[in-house]
């Protein structure tokens, strides 16, 4: 076993740490406090981060990206998330779909879409799955209800497909330039056999963004509605086989569990938030006095700090192991389990941090923000559904 980082990994980590501390952290709370969910976003931080490579770091070298390994991605994710979970998620959403492009797109599609993605600091990616009537059904399609799941319809007309329907909660919807869209191409087949994935640029005629959802956490991160009214997409934008959108987990060459990086991404993000909470709590305990003595002297405070740190360090070990396994193309349920664990850990750790601050009479808005951001983990895709999905993978 070797826990040493390579020079390249350490360099990425150091750059991320500096950028997070100097650029992200100073705007984190102010962005969170903006009322209008469309206005929380800030292009300047995206451009700055993009210039350092944090938008495109997951694109393979042969296609002009940085080709970082998963260990590096996990390290960078944790550093950025320590400053702001939602801002860092906006960057890593691009890594997630960079992996998907690398794994599933044809060379022609890569040429057409990766080049502009790499060149443009404001080019963000997204993927539309959820719909108002179909959330968990897309993740655990019920065997006894073959019609369940997404309803967005795509019909072939010559060289084009015509898309009609609606998506909701879609990440980067209001700021993205290119989206993967899952659409039903055979309404009579079950979800897995009747769905096709399309590449849909944001300027596609007949495609527009509706409202941006007003979340209580991850406020910087944009989740929006997508509306398709006879949106016309060329057949050349079909990803993989028609009626085979599930290829990302079934046939893709690099199967890294769950959603191709998505699980590791979330767990590493949670780790960064936990690091922030631990640091806040320890600083509070060592600097705040009560009755003339530091909070740290109290046994109950020590026990709470112990709990925060043991959970955080256990999560770190698991996150780095999963990243290491991904780099070796080991296909296990560990990424999913690690994401499930991260949900429990981020919530408990941020709650203890808030409890310590409130108990000391210190009203720290950042402690509250971390708790609100942590809540998001239970609501990303149905917490129990996520856990059962991973369990079913174990039993395969």
């Amino acid at each position: 076993m070797d826990f040493m980082l390579s020079n390249e990994q350490s360099a990425w980590q150091a750059t991320a740490r500096k950028f997070a501390q100097e650029e992200i952290r100073p705007i984190s709370l102010a962005r969170d406090e903006i009322d209008d969910p469309r206005e929380t976003f800030d292009w300047e931080i995206i451009k700055k981060g993009s210039r350092l490579g944090f938008r495109t770091m997951a694109v393979p070298k042969e296609w002009g990206g940085h080709g970082t390994d998963f260990v590096t991605q996990a390290l960078v994710m944790a550093e950025l998330a320590k400053a702001d979970s939602a801002i860092s998620k906006t960057f890593s959403q691009c890594w997630k779909w960079s992996h998907l492009i690398a794994a599933t797109c044809t060379d022609e599609q890569k040429r057409r879409f990766l080049k502009p993605f790499l060149e443009d600091d404001t080019f963000l990616l997204g993927k539309g799955i959820s719909e108002p009537g179909a959330g968990s059904d897309n993740r655990l399609p019920p065997a006894d209800d073959p019609k369940a799941g997404l309803k967005l319809r795509a019909e072939r007309h010559g060289d084009d497909w015509i898309l009609n329907g609606e998506k909701c909660f879609i990440a980067n919807a209001s700021v993205g330039k290119l989206f993967f869209i899952d659409a039903r191409t055979d309404p009579n087949a079950p979800l897995r056999q009747g769905t096709t994935m399309f590449l849909v640029p944001s300027d596609t005629p007949g495609f527009r963004i509706g409202k941006v959802f007003n979340k209580n956490g991850w406020r910087f991160y944009q989740n929006g509605e997508m509306i398709f009214e006879n949106a016309r997409v060329p057949h050349a934008n079909v990803v993989g086989p028609v009626n085979g959108s599930d290829m990302k987990t079934q046939q893709a060459g690099d199967r890294t569990g769950g959603d191709l990086f998505g699980d590791l991404e979330l767990a590493a993000n949670a780790l960064g938030v936990c690091d922030d909470a631990c640091e806040m709590a320890l600083t509070l305990a060592r600097t705040t006095k009560q009755g003339g003595r530091h909070l740290f002297e109290q046994q109950m405070v020590q026990l709470k700090l112990n709990r925060m740190h043991l959970l955080t360090e256990a999560l770190r070990s698991f996150v780095m192991r999963v990243a290491w396994e991904h780099d070796r193309k080991m296909h296990t349920a560990n990424a999913g389990l690690c994401m499930n664990l991260s949900t429990d850990v981020i919530q408990e750790v941020t709650e203890i941090n808030l409890d310590l601050h409130a108990g000391a009479g210190v009203l720290a808005p950042r402690a509250d923000k971390l708790v609100r951001d942590a809540m998001i983990w239970s609501h990303l895709a149905g917490d129990s559904v996520q856990r059962m999905k991973v369990t079913r993978r174990l039993a395969r």
Partner: protein, 409 residues
């Protein structure tokens, strides 16, 4: 003998308040525009209507013009109100708790004559108790099982001048401050003595400011109170036993637990409704084990928390049950409050989870229930502090007087 049946009167009060909340409180409280806003102004219209129902004077004795409700009924009413809006519940609980302490017990007949008629006549006449001061550290913390260190004396002073008291000082986080017509202000009266002064809100020199916190960390209407050369008549001093007013805080603890129950019930009712409507996985989500078990756990937490809260309320009304060895001599109100706040935070999170992504959206109430439950969890100095106080009670610990207090005697 063990009897948990509510009387027809108690049931009627509960049903009346439940109907009132459904018709008058929930519609404005659940308005999406209000839910989305960062600030949550007090629903004064609904508050006034609740006062007209008699909920402001609920616990005041019938002789004084109130309904003479006991602590258990007050808990039932507070829970029902908090299902609709915790702020209205908190404001009314505060006025309703202070009213009997002041008008029935602490005021002299002359004082009652001066203040009671106005209190009864005006539905917007609320009461406030101004105790907490900046820098005056009231938490137990490091002083657990030890004599207190540090200066905890009251820094707000009242000096005698001619025909009255002149008050100077500052109080923080005073419940009901923005709407109170009458403040009870804890002061030190010169040579180490402490007292409670009645200070009407229109006294020159009294100024209420917003408590300077962005995020709401209390239920109800809070504010800071500045007192600059405030003059009140000599007769505004409450009797020596006015410290007993502090003991009323014990009654308020049960109200806080009841308020917490109301928040939990609102979350539970929303989740139960939704789980019977939302179809995923080919069936209503309540028919899935994962959601069914979650709802069961929410119900378990709520029922156990209510049992503990009602027991604590009942013992407030029947203190002889402790002397008669029917119930243990323990801080049952704190025990109920700690259990309720931990259980209901968990329950509110679980309820929100049933809603998937909608559980964190600001135009939906679930995220607000979670936040409101979190506020209860951290009310006062938090559950950790409450547990230390309970532990001292278990050990029968009696705190020795501080050097400062001894010197003053």
């Amino acid at each position: 003998m063990y009897d948990l049946r509510l009387s027809p009167e108690q049931l009627e009060i509960r049903d009346t308040v439940r109907d009132f909340v459904a018709q008058e409180v929930k519609p404005p409280a659940l308005d999406p525009t209000r839910l989305e806003a960062q600030t949550r102004p007090l629903l004064t219209g609904a508050l006034d209507k609740a006062a007209q129902l008699g909920l402001r004077t609920l616990a005041l004795s019938e002789e004084a013009g109130g309904a003479g409700a006991d602590t258990l009924i007050c808990c039932i009413v507070t829970e029902e109100l908090a299902v609709g809006d915790p702020d209205i519940a908190a404001v009314l609980a505060q006025t309703s708790t202070l009213a009997p302490a002041l008008f029935d017990r602490l005021m002299t007949p002359q004082q009652r004559e001066r203040f009671l008629p106005a209190f009864l006549a005006d539905d917007r006449y609320h009461l406030a108790l101004a105790q907490h001061e900046p820098g005056r550290d009231a938490t137990l913390g490091i002083n657990y099982h030890r004599a207190e260190t540090g200066d905890r004396s009251c820094k707000t002073t009242a000096l005698r001048a001619d025909d009255g008291w002149v008050i100077n000082g500052r109080k923080e986080r005073v419940a009901n401050a923005p709407i109170a017509r009458l403040f009870v202000v804890e002061v030190s009266t010169g040579t180490g003595g402490a007292g409670m002064l009645l200070v009407p809100s229109d006294t020159p020199g009294l100024r209420v400011t917003e408590s300077g916190h962005g995020v709401r960390w209390q239920h109800g209407a809070y504010g800071d109170v500045e007192l600059a050369d405030c003059r009140v008549p000599l007769d505004n001093l409450l009797g020596a036993e006015s410290q007993a007013l502090l003991a009323e805080a014990g009654h308020r603890i049960t109200q806080d637990a009841a308020l917490n129950l109301g928040i939990g019930r609102a979350a539970y009712e929303a989740a139960l409704d939704y789980a019977q409507l939302r179809v995923q996985g080919g069936r209503r989500i309540i028919e899935h084990q994962a959601i069914g078990a979650k709802l069961a756990e929410i119900a378990i937490r709520l029922e156990v928390a209510r049992a503990a809260t009602w027991q604590a309320a009942w013992v407030c009304d029947n203190p002889d049950a402790v002397a008669g060895r029917s119930l243990p001599d323990l801080p049952l109100a704190s025990i109920a409050q700690v259990f309720a706040s931990e259980a209901i935070y968990r329950a509110a999170k679980d309820a929100a989870e049933c809603f998937g992504a909608m559980g964190v959206m600001r135009d939906m109430p679930l995220q607000q229930y979670v936040h409101d439950a979190l506020v209860c969890l951290h009310s006062g100095a938090g559950t950790g502090e409450a547990k230390l106080r309970i532990a001292e009670a278990l050990a029968g610990y009696r705190r020795p007087a501080t050097a400062a207090a001894l010197a003053a005697e």
